[in-house]
Amino acid sequence: MSIDYSQKIPNNVNLNDDRRLQRALENWQPNYLKWWDDLGPNGSTDYDVYLRTAVSVDPKGWAHFEHVKMPDYRWGIFLTPVEGERQINFGQHKGEAAWQEVPGEYRGELRRLIVTQGDTEPASVEQQRALGKTCPSLYDLRNLFQVNVEEGRHLWAMVYLLHAHFGRDGREEADEMLERHSGDPDKPRILQAFNEETPDWLSFFMFTFFTDRDGKYQLASLAESGFDPLARSCRFMLTEEAHHMFVGESGVGRVIKRACEIMRDNKTDDVRAYGGIELELLQKYLNFHFSVSVDLFGQELSTNAANFYNMGLKGRYQETKIDDNHSLHDDSYIVSEIKGDVIGTTEAPALTAINERLRDDYIADCQLGVNRWNKIIQKLGIDFELTIPHRAFHRGIGSFSSINATPDGKIISQAEWEARQDEWLPSNEDREYVLSLMAPVTEPGKMANWIAAPDRGINNQAPEFEYVRFN
């Protein structure tokens, strides 16, 4: 099925057939563009950026690359095509036909899920809006902008669901997506992690690796939803999300590589003396971004999450590939908990532990990425290993938010935490150092000194390809 680009809003959902919906979205579109202008990437309106635009929803539709101005990017509504008679695959409605309309009894829950997901998309664009001014290369600048336009399209995907299926409430929610702003004291974004500024490119790479990976797991669980339009929207979004994972994993990997090259070539441990970012500091950034991202999975035990599962609204990661009865009523799941002054485990009902299970899947995936980073270090002959901190470390949500723990999971006093937190998290001085490295490099093919060149260009382009033209 191809995407209809002749219309004002490109889509593969036959928007033409629903004049009321089409008009509602056409009314929202100018507000969206105004928001992009006001709070999207700073001063970028006139740049020609080498972007990948999905031109159809089949696999080959991803092959379209060209230089475009970002406000002209073809944001639109793309859903993975319907697969035969899709069924609900879990919870109390398992085996029933998937819903094409919102079931009345779950209206509130579904709206909340969609709004929470949708709110993160423009939020991250806002968080990253100043980064363009300090890009380490044109290649990276292009990747940032690609991430930004795709987050914008994800907002479109969620806004479409709200407009198409939630009537007036949905339209109001869609408007509010553009009224809340990241870090705004009066109208902040819903989730706290999306109210922090992304101040530098190391934070951006860490954010796309850790925080966007939360997005991947949330989208993957929503892609299992019994509400078919939501499932198909999220399925399509996952391919875009994969690009964000790539920017994070390869971005941090290149900073690591550069640090190791400095150490090897100059036979030194003093990476800062050569303008690089030392591995110990990368570990601190990792600790920070990992801990704030695991918070996004919510409480370890949650009746809300259990209800969403039971109702068939949000499944587990790769639900249909799991070999069990997909109801979880009699099952249990091992959950970490505080036992006196140590952290132990306990058996909890699998249904209420659904958040924790998704967090476990996420942590395992993070670990695989960190293993890759360690391979880079190993290959360059450096004796150092990056590690993922214990899940109890530096938490703001869930049972561990009440204690202080070291990265290896030992509970410590508040006084010890205060005395030692700079060993584990970036100190103000660390952050200032990283900020001091952020000077723009915009000559094609050139890289900032603190980051290695990528192994392969976007769409196999040569290293000196002009990914962004500033005009």
Binding site: G61, T239, R372, D455, E464
Partner: protein, 395 residues
């Protein structure tokens, strides 16, 4: 042993996002905690996985005598090289081809070296005794229908067989049947007209530019065989051949191309390569092509569409009713200023391809252009040849 082309995923670049596994309609992609891999026995090369991949890791191909198993791939940290030992045995090397190259590349052949930044070409992977099979994917006439010159653009698809080539290389074709003495026909050599990654990117195919040779009642065996092929016909192919007439890979290289007739083939390959990977390269492309009329000029239409800032195209025609005759040599003199400017740079590479007779005239033009501007052509020519920057292939 016939080499096969195996689809692999580069583990050093892959981020295990599962997009390819999701995109594969026949579950030919699988993974463990370390790697995502393609099962050689299942993959049907439908390419559904290629463009959704965010990293490009999926777009990896290797020539293999024995395909890598899923189990082997799952343990890799890096991609292996192409499997070596893949050329045919010494006694199977086609001597007739070696002799043909001695003629094509001229008497100084032993001294000629390829450009420093050209990749190492594969040679003699297939021979008369062990040819590769290709299937005709297309055969189009590219000269005007009322022209008496019938030049064709023929695309050969190698399916699952690995046939790695570089721009400027040639392949051999085995025409079926025997000559009047009852011997198999000689191998026909044709220059490849498409870039290394295929006539279309990542299709395992290549293009040829072939002129039908008819002289009175005598019809050329090889050219008529090739020009008469239909889509789906099978062709026996040898090669690849040619180790010096190769293009430099660095984008700063200026490339001067001079050709007549089907000599346009390698120039097309090099131009397409540059356009695919370095469309904004700082190096300049300058092309001189000669034909009798526009209707006789292979690729006349597509050449017209190339942007001026990408390539400086100079066409000369020797049989135009309303114009004086112009040969490539004449045109080179007219563009002498630009040519001399390029020749001054030690980043400039010259390629000449066409009928044997043109070589001398082109050399004289270079000499004339230089002499008029105080450049010492004889020493420049010698220096260019020694440094792999001057290449001739005539027939």
């Amino acid at each position: 042993m016939e080499l096969q082309r195996q689809h692999l995923i580069d583990p050093a670049i892959c981020i295990r996002c599962n997009t390819c596994e999701e995109a594969c309609p026949i579950d030919a992609i699988t993974h463990n905690d370390l790697n995502y891999v393609v099962d050689f026995d299942k993959c049907e090369s439908c390419m559904h996985c290629i463009s959704p991949c965010p990293t490009g890791a999926i777009d990896s191909w290797r020539a293999v005598a024995k395909p890598w198993s899923v189990e082997e791939q799952l343990t890799w940290d890096d991609l292996p090289d192409d499997q070596e030992g893949d050329a045919v045995e010494e006694e199977d090397v086609d001597r007739e081809i070696v002799a043909m190259f001695d003629v094509a590349e001229g008497k100084d052949r032993a001294k000629i070296i390829p450009p420093k930044t050209a990749p190492k070409p594969k040679l003699h992977l297939y021979s008369r005794n062990k040819p590769a099979k290709a299937v005709v994917a297309g055969n189009y006439r590219i000269t005007d229908k009322d022209s008496d010159t019938d030049i064709r653009h023929i695309v050969l698809d190698f399916g699952a067989t690995s046939f790695p080539v570089l721009e400027g290389q040639s392949i051999g074709i085995l025409p079926p049947g025997e000559d009047e003495k009852g011997k198999p026909h000689h191998i026909r050599l044709y220059s490849i007209a498409s870039p290394r990654d295929g006539e279309r990117p990542n299709r395992n195919n290549l293009a040829l530019t072939i002129k039908r040779v008819v002289d009175g009642d005598i019809k050329g065996v090889g050219s008529n065989y090739m020009c008469d092929l239909k889509k789906g016909d099978e062709v026996l192919v040898t090669g690849p051949f040619g180790q010096t007439f190769l293009m430099p890979d660095h984008p700063e290289a200026n490339i001067i191309m001079v050709a007549t007739g089907t000599g346009a083939a390698p120039m097309r390959a090099m131009t397409m390569r540059r356009q695919r990977v370095h469309p904004d390269a700082p190096g300049k492309l300058m092309l001189f092509l000669g034909a009798r009329t526009p209707g006789d000029q292979p690729y006349f239409g597509p050449l017209k569409k190339l942007p001026k800032e990408f390539i400086d195209v100079n066409l000369s025609f020797s049989r135009m009713a309303d114009q004086p005759k112009e040969y490539v040599q004449d045109r080179m003199h007219k563009e002498g200023e630009k040519l001399a400017e390029l020749l001054k740079s030690n980043n400039t590479y010259v390629y000449i391809c066409g009928l044997k007779g043109m070589e001398k005239g082109v050399e004289e033009s270079f000499a004339g252009v230089c002499a008029a501007r105080g450049l010492d052509w004889p020493s420049l020519e010698a220096e260019m040849k020694e440094s792999g920057r001057y290449h001739v292939e005539t027939y």
